[in-house]
């Protein structure tokens, strides 16, 4: 009975987080074409190289954000469907962590360029790196559970 209650709670919370991540996914998908609007409508002669650099950076940032968001969305989607310890669930979490670290690195580079060339003061902390490493670590722990479950299924 307690086991069932825990599963139900996981599914319920995962469903809510999945919905939030879905909204995030839509936002990222909308933001990428929005960032590209000047590229499409402005003539190339009127676009300074600094602007191209800024827009390109934003598009890349948004794309990386989209990938992290997508991996997390898939992870919570699988949790919502009750697949707690399987290779795909764990793989999605691991990939989200790795992409988050890539996003963090790119954010640092982009903010540095923004500061050097445009004087924008941007806050870049270690939270992205920390979150990425924690996700990878949790995926290792889940891999342990996955193996336990596989052994259990083989035994039964």
């Amino acid at each position: 009975m307690k086991n069932f209650q825990n599963q139900a709670k996981i599914i319920k919370v995962s469903k809510n987080i999945r919905s939030i991540l879905f909204a995030g996914l839509v936002l990222w998908m909308v933001s990428i074409p929005v960032f590209l609007i000047p590229f499409i409508f402005l003539p190339k002669e009127k676009m300074p190289s600094s602007m191209i650099c800024e827009i390109g950076g934003r598009v890349l940032l948004a794309s990386l954000g989209l990938v992290v968001n997508l991996k997390l969305f898939r992870f919570f989607d699988r949790l919502k469907n009750g697949h707690l310890f399987d290779a795909q669930t764990v793989g999605n979490l691991d990939a989200a962590g790795r992409w988050w670290i890539v996003l963090w690195l790119f954010q640092g580079l982009y903010y540095q360029i923004e500061y050097q060339f445009f004087g924008h003061v941007m806050v870049w902390g270690g939270s992205g790196l920390f979150a990425g490493l924690i996700l990878i670590f949790v995926s290792w722990l889940l891999k342990e559970a996955q193996e336990l479950q596989e052994e259990q299924e083989l035994t039964v």
């Binding site: 086991n3 825990n6 599963q7 709670k9 996981i10 919370v13 995962s14 809510n16 987080i17 939030i20 940032l61 954000g65 992290v68 949790l79 707690l84 310890f85 988050w100 996003l103 954010q107 924008h120 003061v121 941007m122 806050v123 939270s127 992205g128 979150a131 670590f137 949790v138 290792w140 722990l141 889940l142 891999k143 342990e144 559970a145 193996e147 336990l148 479950q149 052994e151 259990q152 035994t155 039964v156």
Partner: protein, 188 residues
């Protein structure tokens, strides 16, 4: 073969988890010590926190806002303490992993506590922000583009609340893992 016997692949991963946990524990303890040193430097050597200063309150828009300042000051003293407890609990969690206690009850309790601390901290920070909403902002605006940041223009970031919920969710998932491990031990 008994329940504690593991395959070489799993054993290698467990060994890796233990090594990483040790490094992480030392790193977190380092962060904790740095935070304590930093806070004591601010509070002891630079006097009382700036919000307790009545002159500072008087320099704000209205003197009658001083009780709000005081409230926010008291709350802002609690948040660094919560941060220290969070670091301490995280170090404890890595200590459990270092000992190989991945799906133990105390490990799961520790993860849940970390999630709850995140939520409590979010509540305190949001309250402080709402209390000081009318205060002047810094002269140079700082732009922020955080991934897990949900500020809907009210100045309250819902990201930490979501992170707290995710940590509690992970604790529940680990609890499921614990049940599988217990079943496995009983079966073997």
């Amino acid at each position: 073969m008994n329940a504690t016997d593991v395959s070489p692949k799993a054993s290698a991963r467990l060994h890796r988890i233990k090594i990483v946990s040790r490094i992480a524990r030392l790193g977190v303890i380092g962060f904790l010590l740095f935070t304590i040193w930093f806070l004591s430097r601010v509070w002891i050597f630079q006097g009382t926190p700036v919000l307790f200063d009545k002159l500072n309150a008087a320099s704000a828009k209205a003197v009658h806002q001083y009780p709000l300042f005081l409230c926010a000051a008291i709350l802002s003293l609690i948040t660094p303490l919560i941060l220290c407890v969070w670091y301490w609990k995280l170090a404890q969690l890595f200590h459990y992993y270092e000992r190989g206690l991945i799906f133990a009850v105390k490990t799961i309790r520790c993860i849940k506590f970390l999630g709850l601390l995140c939520v409590i901290n979010w509540m305190l920070v949001s309250t402080i922000h709402l209390l000081l909403q009318d205060q002047p902002s810094p002269s140079q605006p700082m732009r922020r583009l955080e991934f897990f940041s949900f500020d809907f223009g009210w100045g309250v970031d819902f990201g930490p609340l979501l992170i707290g919920a995710i940590i509690v969710l992970i604790a529940w998932i680990m609890d499921e893992g614990r049940k599988i491990q217990e079943e496995q031990e009983l079966t073997v």
